[in-house]
């Protein structure tokens, strides 16, 4: 019996159309615009000015706070400007504009393909490398990786969970890297496991990716045979259910533990990292390669098979450039999503550029995505049945519409993970999550305010 999380969840069609498309490398555009806010936390501070010559992998912005990250140039060339540019959502954010000239890499970066399996012994040096190379979580939240790998004093990691669930429909980038870069991912896992004090590591993959499961299992077996420090790593096949890749759900599925409300995974001894993050950790530690590339899926029902792609991109490439290169925007597409269809962001501005956490250009058709008119709640309870946190969205939205913050807090609106299961499953098309998301923000602000007062 395959494991999965215990509460709620939904089964949308997984639509992994591009799962067999090999990763292709995108050519460099003539210009890149690198955002200083590619991670959760404070935007980084630019340290270059117009006219500066930069190389690939050179630091161009420094962290501005504990929860922040380095940003590196993804190209070589000249800095053209540093200033506001509209991001994915159309809001102004500081971008560093660089004119691309050649492809000259900064010194000290190992560009060879050789697999380095020997893990450095100094954990501090490893963490420093992860931090200096700007590694952030690539599962969606882009939380700085080194922060997550340093459990607060008094807390110990019992298990490192590598998230290869990729439960979002359509996305196949994690699937591809697990097939094509399996050994690197396992080395990354071994590195993180060592930093965390040698706890076991479990790579959780959903059953709909048999190739990835086979590749990862083989990679683990081979590395365990040929190198040291790879004991305690295993692959776990999980039942297909959305949102398996949610941090809290994955911990429940793999370890059978549940994180307390407003708590952190480390409270129950878990550290969750995406497989793509693991790859980035490998490159940062073993190759001294900063996080300037990632893999992105170009897909959608309305995209013909030959135009489905998994691209290795460099940060700062305009999305419109990628869309153009992949063969243009399909006729029937009415919405382009960056990220999965359940939690991704609809793109308001295609001139926005790729960031560390970009994972897709997903084209959706009107039939798939246009919301139907809202009708009366028939109290079917399908939203509550679907909620992986065991909340009652029908109730929360009612309280939220009347601004009843006390009741909202009592009914745990702050636990909402915004997975979208409620809105997905509502037969009356009630914009449950739209309303609940705002209320959650309000309630968390109240809770934080109260905690600060104490």
């Amino acid at each position: 019996m395959l494991k999965t999380f215990s509460i709620g969840g939904i089964h949308p069609s997984d639509s992994k159309i591009s799962k067999d498309c090999k990763i292709e490398v995108l050519p460099l555009p003539s210009k890149v615009y690198i955002s200083v806010a590619q991670h959760l936390g404070a935007p980084a501070t630019p340290i270059v000015k117009p006219g500066d010559a930069v190389k690939v992998g050179q630091v161009i912005a420094e962290p501005a706070g504990f929860i922040s990250a380095y940003v590196h140039s993804s190209v070589s060339g000249t800095v053209k400007s540093v200033g506001p540019r509209k991001d994915l959502a159309g809001n102004n954010m500081t971008h560093i504009e660089i004119d691309v000239e050649g492809d000259e890499w900064a010194e000290g970066i190992d560009l060879s393909d050789t697999l380095v399996t020997a893990i450095p012994e100094d954990n501090k040096a490893i963490l420093e490398k992860i931090k200096l190379n700007g590694v952030v979580g690539l599962g969606g939240a882009t939380f700085p990786a080194h922060v997550k790998l340093c459990p607060p004093p008094g807390k110990k990691a019992d298990c490192l969970i590598l998230n290869g669930a990729e439960c979002e429909p359509y996305l196949t980038s994690d699937n591809r890297i697990m097939i094509e870069r399996s050994k690197e991912i396992v080395v990354g896992a071994a590195i993180m496991k060592q930093v965390l004090g040698g706890c076991p590591a479990v790579i959780g993959i959903e059953e709909n990716k048999p190739e990835a499961i086979a590749a990862m299992t083989a990679a683990v077996a081979e590395l365990q045979k040929t190198a040291k420090g790879y004991d305690g790593i295993s692959v776990m096949t999980l039942k297909k259910k959305y949102p398996q890749g949610g941090e809290k759900q994955l911990i429940d599925a793999v370890m059978g533990r549940q994180v307390k409300s407003m708590g952190l995974p480390i409270d129950v001894g878990a550290v969750v990292q995406n497989v793509a993050t693991s790859l980035a950790v490998y490159e940062a530690v073993q190759k001294n390669m900063p996080l300037i590339t990632n893999v992105l899926t170009v897909t959608g029902d309305c995209v013909p098979m030959e135009k489905q792609h998994n691209y290795k991109f460099r940060i700062g490439m305009p999305l419109s450039y990628i869309a153009e290169y992949a063969g243009g925007i399909p006729e029937q597409a009415v919405k382009i999503v960056s990220g999965g269809p359940m939690m991704g962001k609809a793109i308001a501005n295609l001139d926005a550029t790729t960031v560390k956490g970009s994972s897709s250009l997903l084209y959706l058709t009107a039939e798939q995505t246009v919301r139907k008119a809202e009708s009366a709640c028939i109290r079917c309870g399908k939203c509550a049945e679907a909620c992986p946190m065991g909340l009652e969205p029908f109730l929360l939205q009612k309280y939220a519409r009347h601004n009843m913050t006390d009741e909202l807090e009592e009914n745990a609106v702050q636990d909402c993970i915004e997975c979208g299961c409620c809105l997905y499953s509502c037969p009356a098309n009630i914009p449950l999550l739209d309303i609940i998301r705002i209320a959650k923000g309000d309630v968390i602000k109240i809770i934080r305010g109260r905690a600060a007062k104490k």
């Binding site: 307390k260 990220g339 995505t369 028939i378």
Partner: protein, 321 residues
Amino acid sequence: MERLIVSPSPHLHTKTSTKSLMRDVVIALLPAVVVSVLFYGWSELLVLGTSVASCVLLEYLITKYLLKKACTVGDWSAVVTGVLLALNLPSTTPWWVVFIGAVVAIGVAKMTFGGLGQNLFNPAIAGRVFLLISFPTYMTDWTRPQGFIGGGLDTITGATPLGAYAEGGVSAISEISSLDLLFYNIGGSAGELSAIALIIGFVYLLARKVIRPYITLSILVSVAAFSGIFWAINPEVYTGPGFNLLTGGLLLGSIFMATDYVTSPMSNLGGVIYGFGIGVITMLIRYFGAYPEGVSFAILIMNSVVPLINKWCHAKKYGRA
């Protein structure tokens, strides 16, 4: 593609809609409808037609002219109410009595509360109970009209098994076998005819994930347990579980009416409590009440408790003991 659409996530949506759910309920009722028409013939068709037509028409008129809001007939909920009301009435009911039932169901029980989703009581049951109290003669006239098939199958003319038991005790129903009850009931309202037809509908609803099984099973188990205990104490006076499960409107009520989304609890635990209440009240009325049958009263009574159950019973939350 002229301008891109931008909206908050999620960007996909289930194909299930209020309309598709209601249509599934109607489809699940079809076996029972077919059986009743076959056995009761033209008069049953008249009752069904009047009931569905008047429910839909009333909802249309009320939303359009009284409430002056968007018409909700398209969601099929009025059709469900119409079919359920018809299956709850004897096939001999005059058309005007059926119409009054529809007025109470749609006009009073549903629309005065604000329409679909707002009503406290199941409209079809409210309509049926109103008719049962107001027109007892029509509502207990079980003389069987000539159906399309099976004209000579009845063993007890003019009374339902439960009615016979209420009047004559256990000895009056000794001739009825469970097998008879399973395939075609003897006398009774249209929807009580065939247990098999109703169970087929139940399986369909479960397979389509329209309803969860907790409420229905809770009712059936509690009826079986309650009658089992009494039967074991004194089989001379009390009817057994098999008889109680298969007679009357128990299956119709527990599968189609108690599971009505709007008037039943939202949580699984709440559903079990609600079902238990219905089962026990049904059996209390059957054994000790003045009426031979108590399912509709039980559901109505438990409907009124649903807000309280909803308040007490919540789903288990992640990470909270």
